[in-house]
Symmetry: C2
Subunit: 349 residues, 2 copies
């Protein structure tokens, strides 16, 4: 009873029913008599039969596959994909599997022609777009996706008038929590290192939250304490050197990513400043490294499980025609050693 590549017809012959009945039985159709169904499923199992996905997909026009498009936005020197995305991939795959979807992974450049192919070729029923990038740059592609009725979810902030739905982290709240923590520790000259505007809404939001916290506390938000930096240790290091050269005193530092914070801490140490003695430092991301540097970095954590599950749930909702709205999830401050003594919590708002 071994058949090389069994089809539903082989099973039909063996079971003495029509091929249509086999198809119904394998899909657990209530139309099929229970005993018939059991017999057919038994034979299928014995033959190691699995429905040919190409045939089923051709017929139903569904692939039951999600395409995960990762943009590797790096500056060439630090060619590593953001670790948070790897953690999300893990959760995305699990969440998708639970809903009966496969995950196709593709690494892309923002400049690639990824946008149309996946759904048009029926390789995927929908897309998840993952990667920090300049939304303005690929705005045109998002428009094209929307025009082609492609289902997609963007990981990231809610951007006004942006086509499609997104799911992201409330970066503004994260920046607010970070700055508030520093304020609660008595810090008043709080520097900001990170991108502020151009090309990165998430970093802009982190800055906005930081600025709001300072404003609410009546603390000056001094432009001379702000240094732009992209996401790398090297640039965090350089930014602190720049700050020190400016001669502006500071006792707190909020970096828009952990990598920047880690580079910044190294620069502080190299210049005779202690952390948290002289300067309290907060990062953003909670990458695995954050817990292992010395001192361990206080940072704002994005929960990869909530992110992965949320992205998949929303995309599948879109695919299945349910109404889906863009959403933000709340980040969480993880207190470690880089800020010093336990903060007194300030009332929010």
């Amino acid at each position: 009873m071994k058949i090389e590549n069994p089809t539903s017809r082989d099973i039909a012959d063996l079971a003495g029913v029509s091929q249509a009945t086999v198809s119904r039985a394998l899909r657990n159709s209530p139309q099929v008599r229970p005993e018939t169904r059991a017999r057919i499923q038994g034979i299928a199992k014995e033959l190691n039969y699995f429905v040919n996905r190409n045939a089923a997909g051709l017929r139903t026009q569904h692939s039951n596959t999600i395409a995960l498009l990762l943009f590797d936005e790096t500056d060439g020197t630090d060619k590593k994909m953001n670790l948070f995305f790897w953690a999300m991939l893990d959760n995305i795959t699990r969440a998708a599997a639970k809903l009966g979807y496969d995950v196709l992974v593709s690494l892309q450049q923002l400049t690639d022609d990824w946008h149309m192919e996946y759904q048009a070729s029926h390789r995927a029923d929908g897309l998840i777009l993952l990667g920090y990038g300049d939304y303005a740059e690929y705005r045109e592609k998002l428009d094209a996706l929307a025009a082609a009725h492609t289902r997609f979810i963007i990981w990231g902030p809610i951007v006004k008038d942006q086509p499609g739905r997104s799911f992201g982290c409330d970066n503004e709240s994260g920046g607010y929590q970070a700055a508030n923590h520093l304020l609660a520790l008595g810090r008043r000259r709080i520097a900001y290192i990170g991108r502020k505007r151009r090309g990165s809404p998430e970093h802009a939001a982190r800055y906005d939250g930081y600025a709001r916290a300072l404003l609410e506390a009546g603390v000056e938000c001094d432009d001379k304490l702000r240094v732009p930096a992209d996401n790398s240790e090297r640039l965090g290091y350089a930014a602190v050197k720049e700050l020190l050269e400016r001669g502006q005193p500071f006792d707190g530092l909020f970096a828009s990513t952990d990598l920047i914070a880690i580079g910044a801490m190294r620069a502080l140490a190299d210049n005779g400043k202690t952390v948290p003695g002289d300067v309290s430092v907060v990062g953003f991301d909670d990458m695995p490294l954050a817990a292992h540097v010395t001192p361990a970095l206080t940072t704002v954590q994005q929960n990869a499980e909530i992110a992965g599950t949320g992205l998949v749930a929303n995309l599948v909702g879109l695919i299945e025609g349910r109404p889906i709205e863009s959403r933000l999830m709340a980040p969480k401050l993880i207190v470690r050693d880089s800020c010093g003594g336990k903060a007194r919590l300030m009332p929010a708002g």
Copy 2:
């Protein structure tokens, strides 16, 4: 000239040729007259047409897709996927794309029923199995895969009589390099922390290389300096405590993974031992963390790019019917600060 879901027939109508000619032209068949081909491709582009992969796959019996099966073999507490695998995923996707293959990712348990479905359902033309695990445990599944003529490549060592082909790292050579480095620094009481036999051929090979180096150098390979440990910081920490309690002096330490080494270094520091002053430490993996701990960890690096590219090349070779042999790639010692002064290289062999 907008058609919702254009098919090759739509293009044929527009171009005034048969659907068969469209199919040929899109596949760049030399049979089609160049001008005709150009015209057809122009129309296809304008319509945003992409070949329906389900239909093409059904017809050709190829999916042009590789399934990447990741086994998450963790002890529950450290639920993180090995970072090396994430780096490989990156390289696997790129290598596959270059050869015209998509990558389907799935996280599995060794106990799951992953083994038969992917190829039988025509979702994938072949499998890459990635994950440290007990080969003996899933031997039965490998047999079933082979019996079903599934094409697959296993990431890992070459195991005698194991069905299928594998591609891995020469862990024996890595262990040999690590121990030789310690010997060249004058260390003679070199401890080993890691799994040795049960369920992990790669760790066993690392141990074997270590033992061979000691043997060749005429240094005793003392069982009392060996502590078994699975891959986690916690267990590395515990293993050093165990070693210290045994009261056996040691001046070198080879850990079978970086995580173990990092935990071990912390335990040494907590017990008043300096690294590399009192004890020189070598790890294995070169995870990103390794360069950032204090002191920076000397370790054995597996090149994720060679690994990813090799796995894909071999699998595609198998899929396309070329003869493929199992292979090992050479790991490389990365010297940092955890061993002390520059080693004098010993002649190999």
